[in-house]
């Protein structure tokens, strides 16, 4: 038994050390990329693109499911971005409320019989609506039978008339120059860019007026505040580093810009997974690598998109459960990439990282806890080692959060109030104790649900960013009707 305990201790230590080393590496690499990005963009005048005849065309595709309450304002916000060559495609994914009626009334829409190139297979189209008012000439509303977010995005891609497609959540608040900033990598890279990811920020407690962000503030509620820290770590550390290595596997469903032709060639969004945002990036990369075509995926660290984060534990739990299932489904769908040198850094580094540290880490953690409990019951527990490990993991978790707060502080400083800074720092101390155990439970539940074949998004409730009454977004949805509080997935 002593040997077994010895082996257990050492295995846990080795695994923890590997995880910590990888996080440290990502943090350092992200810092290098951040410095490079800030230097590179110091003299950029995005204004030159706004009305430039040389700006590439962009289709913003936003699926809407039972968004009747806010849809008119959301569209208004999307139509007022600083860019000339773009269209807004709202896909009404079989809403059961008055989403379509409200759009028709507010934007003077009429049914427009059109030919659509059905390059991607989707649920049937009911009709395409365009406005009679020239002021809304950019707006296209597609009405279709409910098929989930992936299906709605696919039909949007079919209808789009531009070469770049931005897949977004309809109630996200985009920064005014968001399109200019996301288009730039497509215009300047020497290698063809197939996708660009943007940063998602938590908009809870922020002041919002007419679909515009007026001032930012750290959320007053506990769970959204925790998510601010999570997003810092994911977007300012993790993804920055992966982008520098050109090994980014995930672009958040809330904001991503894609090369339409490559997206179509790769088969579009997969409606059989709940992690369609990650799956499409992995598939597009696989498509390019299998054909030995040069390509790259870029990432913009500027805060471009603000979204409402789940406020209560139940909704957050559903979201994390779905993310876990989405990750597993994507990893299994593309298992041929696992340690496959044919897929370069994706096969040898990114995929194994996601496998071991995103999928397996919570399982190892929970198994470790159980094993320790059993050792303790039978009197074999190595208490000094256990206590030191708990102390080490806690200290390391706080250190990583502090590191991400520092990155935010020296790069974008979106929370200028001193109180916000101190609240975030305090949250970093509470997070590992009050939040991490729940996260583990959600992740394990995600694994169990996946093994049972669950493939629904679950009911999502959002409070609305402009302090509207609580609006249930009907569910459970088949593969998920598009919902905003669910799409910004940090890794």
């Amino acid at each position: 038994m002593h040997y077994f305990v010895w082996l257990f201790d050492h295995a846990i230590f080795a695994f923890s050390l590997t995880v910590m080393a990888s996080y440290a590496f990502l943090a350092i690499y992200a810092a290098m990329e951040m410095i490079y990005y800030k230097r590179k963009t110091k003299y950029i005048d995005y204004g030159i693109l706004v009305a430039s005849p040389l700006a590439p065309g962009v289709s913003l595709i936003a699926p809407a499911y039972n968004e009747g309450l806010n849809i008119v304002d959301n569209i208004k916000s999307l139509l007022s971005l600083f860019y000339n060559n773009y269209e807004v495609i709202i896909v009404n994914d079989g809403s059961k409320d008055d989403t379509l009626a409200k759009m028709i009334e507010a934007y003077d829409l009429v049914l427009s019989p059109e030919v659509v190139n059905l390059k991607l297979q989707t649920k049937p189209l009911r009709g395409i609506y365009r406005s009679r008012n020239a002021a809304f000439r950019r707006l296209v509303v597609v009405d279709k039978v409910n098929g989930g977010k992936a299906d709605a995005l696919n039909i949007g891609i079919n209808v789009s008339s531009k070469n770049l497609v931005a897949c977004i959540d309809v109630d996200c608040i985009l920064e005014q120059y968001a399109i200019c900033k996301m288009v730039k990598p497509f215009m300047e890279s020497t290698k063809p860019v197939i996708a660009v990811g943007g940063v998602i920020r938590v908009a809870n407690s922020c002041e919002i007026e007419n679909g515009r962000l007026i001032s930012t503030q750290v959320p007053s509620q506990f769970f959204p505040r925790i998510q601010v820290l999570e997003y810092f770590r994911a977007f300012l550390m993790g993804r920055m580093a992966w982008a520098r290595m050109d090994g980014l596997l995930l672009i958040s469903g809330a904001l991503g810009l894609f090369d339409k032709h490559i997206m179509i060639a790769a088969g579009g969004y997969n409606h059989k997974t709940v992690g369609e945002d990650m799956e499409v990036v992995v598939r597009m990369r696989g498509y390019m690598l299998e054909r030995k075509l040069p390509y790259t995926v870029k990432y913009i660290p500027d805060p471009l998109c603000w979204t409402e984060a789940p406020v209560d534990a139940k909704i957050l739990g559903r979201q994390r459960n779905r993310w876990t299932r989405g990750t597993i489904e994507t990893l299994l769908l593309h298992r041929k990439m696992f340690f496959n040198p044919k897929y370069g850094i994706i096969g040898m580094v990114s995929y194994p990282y996601w496998f071991f540290f995103e999928w397996m880490a919570p399982i190892v953690e929970v198994l470790g806890m159980f094993a320790f409990l059993i050792f303790a019951i039978f009197g074999y527990a190595n208490w000094p080692f256990a206590l030191v490990m708990i102390g080490l993991i806690y200290a390391y978790a706080v250190m990583l959060s502090f590191c991400s707060i520092l990155y935010e502080e020296v790069s974008f400083r979106q929370y200028p109030a001193w109180s916000d800074l101190f609240r975030l720092m305090a949250t970093a101390f509470f997070e590992p104790i009050l939040y991490h155990p729940r996260q583990l439970i959600w992740s394990i539940r995600g694994n169990i649900d996946w093994s049972r074949g669950k493939n629904t998004w679950g009911e999502m409730v959002r409070t609305g960013l402009s302090a509207q009454p609580k609006v249930p977004v009907a569910g459970p949805l088949p593969n998920g009707g598009p919902s905003t509080a669910t799409a910004a997935k940090p890794s």
């Binding site: 010895w6 003299y43 030919v115 009911r126 730039k184 497509f186 890279s189 080692f385 502090f402 800074l421």
Partner: protein, 372 residues
């Protein structure tokens, strides 16, 4: 006796490694806590420092803006001797108070650069003279030679904004710099500082001029008076295909229609992107002869190019182009048919009236239950 090897193993291997692991973990924990404190203090310190710098900056900006405003307003109607005296007085004031400190020096420079964006003519000239009298140009040229890439780009940007013509030979050396930001700033500088041949650098450029670069160059070119825009004909022959693309775009945007035959010749260019640009040119000017060319080239073109040509035909809106599109719709290639139908639809043609089979399949009367 049979327990002896395991006891030896426990004493010699297990216990020491257990101890080692414990020691490493303890040290890592201590280091992590030290880092937590260090990063925390650094974060708070960074904010305090930034606030303090911001306050200083606002104070310097307020004073310097007043001085500069006074200087440029008086310089507007001043004679040469008055201007020299005024320049001497202002530069002495600034040197005395702010040039000893690098932060203050940067703030003063930023104020001057910002003011430069809003002034023209003699006022701008007066500001440029002040800039050189404070030796900012010398510092910028030094940075240009010895700085890192981002500092070099900043220096070029600064010398361009402050119109320092003698810096051009130094800047030109960075025309093919390995960093694209430096290259871009250099080329913009050449365009702005080389009054006689603003686009002369296009003949010398060996590196690609990507789309972002082109948009920036166009933004600068569009600010030039019309008579200064040269004919783009020489660059249509460039061995650098990105220069050819840029030239075709500029021919289109500056309406140099006399170059149409030279552009159309590029429809046989080996590079796909150049050919794509040619068809956009044809679309833009509705060049009728384009339909004939497309009829000739369409069957043998790459699939991607065929789509571009079909889109171009839709934009031409001539009898010939419509007939050609109708022919394509009658073929059995679904992708091309739909693209041709879309192209015709854009020109107001009742496509679904004539080819109802191209309409998207209607939804069932009752939505089918979801797959899940």
């Amino acid at each position: 006796m049979h327990q002896l090897p395991s006891l030896v193993l426990a004493e010699l291997i297990l216990m020491p490694t257990q101890q080692l692991v414990l020691t490493i973990a303890t040290w890592l924990m201590i280091i992590s806590w030290i880092l937590v404190v260090g990063i925390g203090v650094f974060t708070v310190g960074a904010r305090v420092y930034a606030h303090r710098q911001q306050r200083k900056k606002i104070a310097i900006e307020a004073v310097v803006t007043d001085w500069l405003m006074e200087y440029v307003m008086m310089a507007e109607d001043a004679t040469e001797s008055e201007l020299s005296a005024l320049l001497e007085e202002t530069s002495t004031k600034i040197k005395h108070q702010y040039m000893g400190n690098s932060f203050a020096r940067r703030v003063v420079k930023a104020v001057m650069l910002d003011m430069n964006r809003h002034v023209r003519g003699s006022v701008a000239n007066a500001l440029h003279r002040l800039y050189t009298s404070l030796l900012y140009d010398v510092l910028a040229l030094e940075t240009l030679n010895y700085g890192e890439w981002h500092e070099q780009a900043e220096a070029v940007n600064e010398l361009t904004l402050m119109q320092v013509p003698y810096s051009l030979p130094y800047i030109e050396q960075h025309r093919n710099h390995r960093n694209k930001l430096v290259r871009l700033q250099t080329q913009i500088a050449e365009m702005k500082l080389n009054e006689n041949h603003p686009l002369g650098f296009l003949s010398e450029v060996k590196t690609p001029i990507h789309a972002w670069h082109q948009a920036n160059l166009y933004a600068e070119l569009s600010k030039l008076p019309k008579e200064k825009i040269p004919s783009f004909r020489p660059w249509l022959q460039s061995p650098n295909y990105t220069v050819v693309i840029f030239a075709i775009k500029m021919v289109r945007l500056f309406n140099q229609l006399d170059l149409q035959p030279y552009v159309l010749m590029k429809s046989l260019h080996p590079h796909l992107e150049v050919r794509r640009e040619v068809w956009q040119f044809v679309s833009y000017f509705h060049i009728a002869v384009g339909a004939e060319l497309i009829e000739h080239l369409l069957p043998d073109a790459e699939p991607e190019m065929q789509l571009v040509m079909i889109e171009c035909l839709g934009n031409l809106q001539t009898m010939e182009s419509e007939q050609l599109l109708e022919q394509v719709i009658e073929t059995d290639q679904y992708g091309l048919r739909v693209e041709a139908a879309l192209a015709l639809q854009r020109s107001g043609y009742d496509v679904l009236g004539r080819w109802p089979e191209l309409a998207p399949p209607p939804p069932p009367l009752i939505s089918p239950p979801s797959a899940h």
